[in-house]
């Protein structure tokens, strides 16, 4: 259970995050989604106790992150932004070092580290110096070090950034497989990532939480509207007024009048009714030519933009 209440962090007079509150239950995988500078990293640093908030408090597993800092840190696996690693160390030596810091007992250390290297798919590079590894492998080493000591809580700041598509899928699979017995928070800019790995999304923009729900609900809630895009040959205003008469149509916008007498129109309707048939009929009955028609439902991508950009 992670409980953040009214977190505010100010740098000088500028607030990086403001009144951020959320609860995360055991076993959840929560995605922190937000554009650059939204405050994701700041929030995660506060959750891990690396920096204190200007005001507000965080409890992890019933313990205050600052008052019981050491105890909380034992239960926490953290991948900081940009995956900082000791580049001059060998992978295995590095992970054993982290295991020692995480108080994994000496006799279990080797086994534990080997197991995690297998899980993360890095046992083939165990003897390599970290700086010689590719970006993707460094990322895996970063995730591996977060897993050392079997933490109950995992906080991953952009775990898939800079990876190739194949590796992104592998890391997502890895995160999903970890989700069974861990509470996970990850941050990302990438939308499909959230809908694929997370049970809940927290969208944050300019330091404030703007939405919080399951990926599915978010999609449903905000995409009550479907759009049909039409290209018709005929008089723009007249077409527009005719289409408005059709039942189920909420709004008709003339997008642009193209060269000669072509018009692009955007027709908004209820999501659950498909008005394409009626639209086509109306156009044909008036002897206009229907050149193109396409239906769109708002995806997470648009929702994200809608929520995070100001009108």
């Amino acid at each position: 259970m992670i409980k953040a209440s009214k977190l505010t962090k100010k740098y000088g007079t500028k607030a990086a995050i403001q009144d951020v509150s959320f609860n995360i239950d055991k076993g959840e995988v929560v995605g922190f989604l937000g554009p650059n500078g939204a405050g994701k990293t700041t929030t995660m640093r506060i959750l891990t106790g690396y920096i204190p908030p200007t005001s507000g408090k965080v409890e992890i597993g019933g313990l205050d992150v600052f008052d019981d800092s050491l105890e909380v840190r034992r239960k926490l696996g953290y991948l900081p932004e940009n995956t900082p690693l000791y580049l001059d160390m060998d992978v295995e030596v590095f992970l054993k070092y982290i295991a020692a810091l995480k108080k994994v007992s000496t006799d279990k250390r080797s086994n534990h580290v080997s197991k995690i290297m297998k899980v993360c798919g890095i046992d083939n590079v165990r003897q390599s110096t970290i700086k010689t590894l590719s970006k993707g492998y460094k990322q895996r080493v970063g995730i591996a070090q977060a897993l050392i000591g079997n933490p109950e809580y995992l906080i991953l700041d952009e775990p898939t950034i800079g990876l190739d598509p194949k590796q992104i899928i592998e890391i997502r699979e890895l995160i999903k497989s970890l989700a069974e017995d861990k509470t996970i928070i990850l941050s990302t800019h990438i939308l499909p990532e959230v809908s694929m790995t997370c049970s809940r999304v927290i969208i944050i923009a300019e330091g404030k939480i703007v939405a919080e729900d399951t990926p599915n609900n978010l999609e449903n809630r905000l995409s009550g509207v479907a759009k049909v895009l039409l290209t018709v040959k005929g008089p723009g205003e007249e077409i527009s007024s005719k289409l408005k008469e059709i039942s189920g149509v909420k709004r008709v916008n003339i997008e642009k009048t193209q060269a000669s007498d072509l018009v692009d129109l955007e027709v908004a309707s209820q999501k659950d009714v498909d008005i394409r048939g009626q639209l086509a009929q109306a156009v044909v009955q008036n002897n206009w030519d229907l050149l193109e028609m396409r239906r769109e439902v708002l995806g997470l991508e648009e929702i994200f933009l809608k929520l995070t950009t100001k009108e």
Partner: protein, 236 residues
């Protein structure tokens, strides 16, 4: 306690993956060897006094090179965040690093005992002042390390950390020299603060408890300030 040694071991290992430790070690051996041979062949006197002050001056230049990486590198690479979010206390991190630098320094200093051994072959030196001078150099060197570590908490840049470290060590070394133009109380204070005044006794063969306490509190003070300095991120 275990965390301290874990960090010490890791730091020692990383000394030997970078050329700096080798270069410093070699330079130190070469220079101190030169100082000893000067004693033997020029002053023809089996005494350690001259060599001792030369060794300490050498350390004044070399020590900031040993400590410059300690925190600046962690800050630059972002590994400080990795380290500080593990279940270790800030003071454990500090002591772990201090101990690593101290072990390297003690190894360096211990290798010069070979020269002392040669000294005893050629003459019959008074061993008392030699051992007390060694103790003085040890304490003074550890003080340089504490100050150097503090310097490396101030910046992400190793070179700047070395320069600041050197400047601080030098400043605290020469503090007593500028006291001449000041009033009585000020000048006494300055020479008390100065690192160099407390070494004089040791080199002469006199171990004053006062001087030992001075060096120990100097070390504790700067390590404490260093801990505060890496915690500064929390107050900003």
């Amino acid at each position: 306690m275990n965390s301290i040694f874990t960090i010490t071991l890791k730091e020692l290992r990383s000394y030997f993956t970078s050329p700096i430790a080798y270069v410093v070690f070699t330079m130190f051996l070469v220079l101190s060897g030169y100082f000893f041979s000067v004693i033997l062949f020029i002053s023809k006197e089996a005494s350690f006094r001259g060599a001792a002050s030369n060794i300490i001056i050498t350390l004044l230049f070399l020590m900031p090179l040993i400590t410059m990486r300690m925190f600046s590198e962690e800050r630059k690479m972002g590994t400080l965040e990795l380290l500080m979010t593990k279940p270790v206390r800030d003071i454990e991190v500090m002591l772990g690093k201090f101990l690593a630098a101290a072990i390297l320094f003690i190894t360096m200093l211990a290798s010069t005992l070979v020269y002392i051994f040669i000294l005893t072959k050629y003459g019959n030196p008074d061993m008392g002042p030699i051992w007390s001078a060694y103790l003085g150099i040890l304490l003074c060197g550890l003080s340089f390390i504490a100050l150097g570590i503090f310097a490396s908490t101030l910046t992400e840049n190793q070179i700047i950390a070395a320069v600041i470290g050197f400047a601080l060590v030098l400043l605290l070394w020469v503090m007593s020299w500028i006291s001449g133009n000041l009033g009585e109380v000020d000048s006494e204070l300055l020479s008390y603060i100065s690192l160099s005044t407390h070494l004089e006794g040791f080199v002469k063969g006199v171990i004053n408890l006062k001087d030992v306490v001075y060096y120990l509190s100097f070390i504790v003070f700067w390590l404490f300030v260093s801990v505060k300095s890496i915690e500064i991120r929390k107050w900003k």
